[in-house]
C-alpha cells in the first residue's frame, strides 16, 4: 500500500470514528438518553461519513489498487493526488466549521475544495485507466 493511500485511509478511519460516534449520539438523543441539543451536529455527522469516510476511503483504496502505468513509472504523478488529499480534508474540515459556526460561506468554500479534490484525483486517474485499456488491446 503506497504512503498516500495510508494517509487517505487513516484519515478516513478517523472521520469514520467521529461520524459514527456522532451518529450514535443522535440516535441516543432520539431515545431521550441525551439532550436534543446534539441535533445541531446532524449535518456534521452526514458530512464526516459521506465525504470524510466513504469518498476518502474510495480514493485511498483506488489509488493503491487500480492498474499502474508501468513497472518503472508506477502510478504516475503524485502531485494531483497530494492536492486531492489536502483539498478533500481541508474541504471536509471547512464544511464542518461552516455548520458549527453557522457560516454559509464556509460551507460553500468547503464544497468547492471537495470538488477540486475529486477533479484533481480524476486528472491523476485518467491515464492509468486509459493505459490499461491500450495494454489489453
Amino acid at each position: 500500500m503506497p504512503r498516500l493511500s495510508v494517509w487517505f485511509i487513516r484519515l478516513a478511519l478517523i472521520y469514520f470514528g467521529l461520524g459514527f460516534t456522532l451518529g450514535a449520539g443522535l440516535l441516543m438523543a432520539k431515545g431521550s438518553f441525551l439532550p436534543l441539543t446534539i441535533w445541531r451536529y446532524r449535518p456534521l455527522h452526514i458530512e464526516l461519513l459521506l465525504i470524510g469516510w466513504i469518498v476518502q476511503l474510495a480514493i485511498g483504496v483506488s489509488y493503491w489498487i487500480l492498474p499502474r502505468l508501468s513497472e518503472a513509472n508506477e502510478r504516475g504523478s503524485k502531485t494531483p493526488v497530494r492536492i486531492a488529499l489536502l483539498a478533500l480534508n481541508g474541504g471536509v474540515l471547512t464544511v464542518c466549521a461552516g455548520f458549527l459556526f453557522e457560516r454559509e460561506w464556509l460551507v460553500f468554500a468547503g464544497r468547492v475544495l471537495e470538488t477540486g479534490a475529486v477533479v484533481s484525483y480524476t486528472f491523476h486517474l485518467h491515464p492509468r485507466l486509459m493505459y490499461s485499456v491500450w495494454r489489453k488491446r
Binding site: M1, P2, R3, V6, I9, R10, L13, F16, G17, F20, T21, G23, A24, G25, L27, M28, K30, G31, S32, F33, L49, L50, W53, I54, L57
Partner: protein, 139 residues
C-alpha cells in the same frame, strides 16, 4: 476469502435489498397515507444503504484484502471480526424496527432498544477501527 468477509458481503447484499424495498415503500403514496409509520422509516432507508450495505461491504473487503497484520496472524483474531459482524447487524436491524416504532408509539421499550442499537453499532465501528488500523501500512 475469509469466513467473516463472506458473511459481511452476504449481509451487505441483504441490507441493500432491504434498503431498496424500503425506498419503494417510503415513496409509495397510497401506502404512506394509510400507514404513516412507513414515512418515519426514511432515516432507516438511508442507514440500511450506507451502514448496512456500503460500510459493511468495506469492512468485509478490507478484512480480506488489506496488508497482513503479522505473518502468523495475517488478519488478526477472527473472533474479533465475528463480534463486529454481530454487533453491526444486530444494532442496525434493531434500529430498523425500533426507530419507526418509537416515532409511532412513543413506548419507552422502543427508546431503550434504540439506545441499545446505537451502542451496538458504535461498538462495531470502533471495533473495526481497532482491528484494521495496524493493517493500514506501507508495503
Amino acid at each position: 476469502m475469509p469466513h467473516w468477509s463472506r458473511w459481511m458481503v452476504r449481509m451487505a447484499m441483504i441490507h441493500l435489498c432491504l434498503a431498496l424495498l424500503l425506498g419503494i415503500m417510503v415513496s409509495f403514496r397510497p401506502l404512506t397515507m394509510r400507514y404513516p409509520v412507513v414515512l418515519s422509516a426514511s432515516p432507516v432507508y438511508y442507514h440500511l444503504l450506507m451502514v448496512g450495505w456500503a460500510t459493511q461491504l468495506i469492512f468485509g473487503v478490507a478484512h480480506w484484502m488489506f496488508p497482513r497484520y503479522t505473518r502468523e496472524q495475517p488478519r488478526g483474531d477472527e473472533r474479533w471480526m465475528a463480534g463486529i459482524f454481530f454487533s453491526l447487524n444486530g444494532g442496525l436491524l434493531l434500529r430498523t424496527v425500533a426507530e419507526p416504532m418509537l416515532a409511532q408509539s412513543g413506548l419507552s421499550l422502543w427508546a431503550w432498544l434504540l439506545g441499545f442499537s446505537a451502542l451496538l453499532q458504535w461498538l462495531a465501528g470502533i471495533g473495526f477501527i481497532l482491528a484494521i488500523w495496524k493493517r493500514v501500512k506501507e508495503k
